[in-house]
Structure formats: C-alpha cells, structure tokens
Amino acid sequence: MAKALAFPSVAWFDAVRAVFNSDERYRGAGGGRCDCVVGLKIGEAVFVLAFEGVECVSAVAADDAALVDVDFFLAMSAEDWREMITNIAENDGADLHHTLNTLDLARDEGLAASRHGDQFREDLFFRYNQTLQFFFDASARVKTAVDNGKLVKL
C-alpha cells in the first residue's frame, strides 16, 4: 500500500507530476502544451513548478525571493490550500467552489499574482488555467496527508 505523502512537499508534488505527466487525458479537451514557471505560496512555504510542453518537468522548494522570477504565483493561506486539496481528493477533482478561477475571484487580493508587472507573463494564468486545474485535479489520485498528518485520501 502506498505511503501517504505530506502536503505540501516536493515528494507530494513529484507524485502529482507523475500522475499528471502519464495521463494523456490531460493533453486533450483544452489541455495540452503549457510553457510556464509557476510559484506556489502555501502559507509561508514556497514551491516552484516548471511546465514544458505537455509535462510538468520539475517541482522544487524555494524561498520568497523566487517569486520574483516566476511567471506568476498562486498564493493562499496554508489552511485554504489544504481545503482545496481536500476538496479535490473528496470529489475526484475540484468542485464548483474550489476551481482555481473561483478561488481567484473569491479573494479580495486574488489567487494569482506577479511581482514583475509583466502583463504577458501574468496572463499565462488564464491561458493555461485548464492545465493548472488538471494538474491539481490529478492530486486526487495521490494518497495525501495534510501537514497535521490527517489523511485526505485513502
């Protein structure tokens, strides 16, 4: 039986990458080529995902300074991230209230942001929105433990 991986962690993102990269369904129906570098600010923790072609090619832990260089970053409290990941696990994909777009609109400060002021790079969030959604939806197939050790998917 697979060991539950802690969210957030590089090991967890690598497991999601493995699911995402190997499932051809994510390449059709509006998915497909995606070239961007995405920061994730999960509470105080920072991770950087790199997408090339039809794959997510790397996930690394980083620090706040790295968010200057990414195309855009998604920032929420650790609690909100856990809620989103839990919702995805419970519904085999985000429900209507937990899509990246809905979460972006639901917060005063938005979900997606950038520090470079380059509109072209910031708009990649919308151009690749479905691929990013597919990526996080793929986490429903990863046995996950949130950082207090509670399993969200068996």
């Binding site: 059709g28 080529r33 070239d35 072609g53 151009r127 929105n129 479905q130």
Partner: protein, 368 residues
C-alpha cells in the same frame, strides 16, 4: 492512322511520316523548378513541444521585414513568379498586425483545442429554476452575438493581411475558429435545457468593431481589448457561478481561448505603439470612443439584470447579492482593462471614463 478526309498519297513512306507527325509529342520533363529555391538544405529539428511554426524562422525564411512589398500570395521565403497580378492586400506594414507571440499562440491554440460536442459533459445539465434558466439563456444569447462579431471582424480583416506575416494570419485563423466554437457552445447551452434564445443585445460596441476603418490595429483595440477583456472577465465570473460541470467546462475553456486573443491584442498594440509615431495617442483616442459605446451598451438593462439573476441565484437574489456580484464583475473588468492599458503604455484616467463605467473603476487607479 490517316484521317478519313486526308488526301490520298498512296506511298508507304508518306504514310509513316504522317503517322509520326500526328503521334502525341513525347513529354520530356526538365525539372528546372528544382533549382528554384532561395535557401535549400534547411533542417529544422523538432523541440520538446514538437516542430513549432516559430521554429521555422531560420535563414531567409525568418526574414520578416517592416514592410512587405510583394502584393501576391507568394509564401515568405519562396521564389516570386514574374507577372503575378497583385491581390491588393491592405495591411502590408508589420506594425499594422504583428505580435512576436503570434506563432506560439497559434501552436497553443492548435494544441489546446477542444470540441463542444464531445468534450463538454452535457449530461451534467439538470433543470434549473425558470428565472435562472431565462437568465442563462439571455446571457448565452449575448455571448453568441459577441462570438459572431469575432468571426466577422477577424475574417473581414484576415484576407486583407499580406502573406509576409503568415504567423499572424494563422493565429487569427485559430481565433476565428475559437469564436465559431464559442458561438456553437453557447447556442447549445441555450437550447439544451428547456430554454431558448432571448433578446438580441444593443450592439454599439459591435458596430464599433465591425466598422473599424482605420486599420486592423483599430479593430484590435475594440475587438480584442475592450470587448475581449469584457468577455474574458464575463467568462471568469460565469465559471464561478456555473450551475453544473458542463457550464463550468464551457466558461473555463472559453476563458482560456479568450485569454489567447487578448494576449495577441496586447502584444500587437505594444508593438504598434513602439513602431508607429502617434500610435499611442491614436489608441488612447480609440479607447475613449470605445468607452462611450460600451457605456451606452451597458445602459441597456438586459445583460445586467440577467447577470444579476445568475450571480444572485434567482430573481429574488438578484436585487442585493446579484447586483453586488455584477459590481464585482464590472470592477474586475475595469481593473483588468486599466492595468492592461498601463502595460501597453496608454494609461487611462478613471476620472475621465463615462459615468456608467467610472462608478466601477478601481479606487486609486490613476494615469501614470
């Protein structure tokens, strides 16, 4: 064999000569065209994302001049044939249509395509309260109109653009197809759940778009920035208030498509402003005209009321929650539009917007 009406000669040798003269002439190919290439021996290797259109811009094939003198359909890099009549392309300056991202956006559109008939989970649609179904169908009617204008405007300009800038023509072909897909899926959504089409929109901005006579850049201001950002923001908020997975899929995917169109629009305007004297001021003037058209469109209450019903969940909810949601949508739209105007170096002063727009302009958003 001699023809029946040919004069008789009687001699054997004469007959042979006549047969030879009447035999079909043997075709002897010369293959001279094989020497006609401006650059031969090109080998472009495919990259991780395949062999992309932009990768082919090597050697003479990547020479993209500021003005395209050829007036025929000669593909860029090919040898021109003498005596070809001009086609009469109206847009022959690179500044009139170019965006560096066009080739990549074309690839992106091709690779990220989707099919409304089979990809949308239509079976997730269930009966909605009558007022909500009316509102959804009314909004779909408006969006069908927008998509129709997209198709007409893009195809109306596409054939006037010279072949020297094929990346843009090809990207716009995908944008036209995206618009056709949006037309299709909103029509399907309106007719799939017991409703029907509603009232046609007022269409002032439609006219501005379709009657742009000053060039493709003018059409881009109205079609891809003013209307494009409005529609893109609408998709975002409709996805947030989707009633089922089918609507969520439609709005989410239409949003992605529209984001590509807006990206091209932004990059083109940035390029045009950087390369044409006075273009910055012209774009600012066009926006001022566009603001007026949009304000008059929004003075018509139909779209606002329909959105308020969707955002509020019912006619009853429209009054407070729904109108608040409409305000959120308008603030998001104007905040995004003004930020994009700053990005292309055409900062706008919210204080000078028409009243119907000014009330939603972000506080503190001032021209640089």
């Amino acid at each position: 064999m001699a023809r029946a009406d040919a004069p008789k000669t009687g001699g054997k040798a004469d007959g042979a000569a006549q047969e030879q003269a009447e035999a079909p002439r043997k075709y002897e190919p010369k293959y001279n065209w094989m020497n006609k290439s401006r650059q031969w021996g090109v080998r472009v290797p495919p990259g991780k994302a395949g062999l992309k259109l932009g990768d082919l811009n090597v050697g003479v094939y990547g020479e993209i001049p500021g003005h395209w003198t050829d007036e025929t359909r000669n593909p860029r890099g090919a040898v021109a044939r003498r005596g070809m009549p001009p086609v009469g392309y109206a847009v022959r300056d690179k500044a009139g249509l170019w965006a560096d991202s066009a080739a990549d956006l074309y690839e992106e559109a091709i690779q990220r395509r989707w099919a409304p008939a089979t990809d949308v989970p239509w079976n997730t649609i269930e009966p909605l309260p009558d007022d909500v179904e009316h509102a959804v169908c009314q909004v779909c009617t408006e969006l069908i109109g927008y998509a129709n204008v997209d198709i007409e405007a893009i195809t109306g300009w596409q054939h006037r653009m010279s072949y020297g800038y094929h990346e843009v023509k090809q990207f716009l072909a995908t944008a036209g197809f995206d618009a056709a897909r949006h037309f299709e899926c909103f029509r399907k959504r309106a007719l799939v759940n017991g409703g029907g089409l509603g009232l046609e929109g007022p269409g002032r901005v439609n006219r501005l778009i379709l009657e742009s006579r000053g060039g493709w850049t003018e059409a881009v201001v109205y079609l891809l920035l003013l209307r494009g950002v409005f529609t893109m923001t609408l998709y975002k908020h409709l996805e947030r208030h989707a009633h089922n997975d089918a609507e969520r899929f439609i709005y989410g995917h239409a949003l992605t498509d529209k984001a590509r169109h807006v990206t091209y629009g932004l990059e083109h305007l940035k390029f045009a402003i950087a390369h044409v004297d006075d273009q910055r001021q012209i774009v600012a003037t066009l926006f001022a005209f566009g603001d007026g058209g949009l304000a008059r469109d929004l003075a018509d209450p139909v779209l606002k009321e329909a959105l308020a019903v969707i955002f509020g969940g019912s006619v009853r909810g429209a009054v407070k929650k729904g109108l608040a949601g409409y305000g959120d949508f308008m603030r998001d739209f104007l905040g995004t539009l003004l930020a994009m105007c700053r990005y292309i170096d055409v900062p706008r002063d919210p204080a000078r917007l028409p009243a119907a727009l000014k009330e939603f302009a972000p506080v503190g958003d001032v021209a640089a």
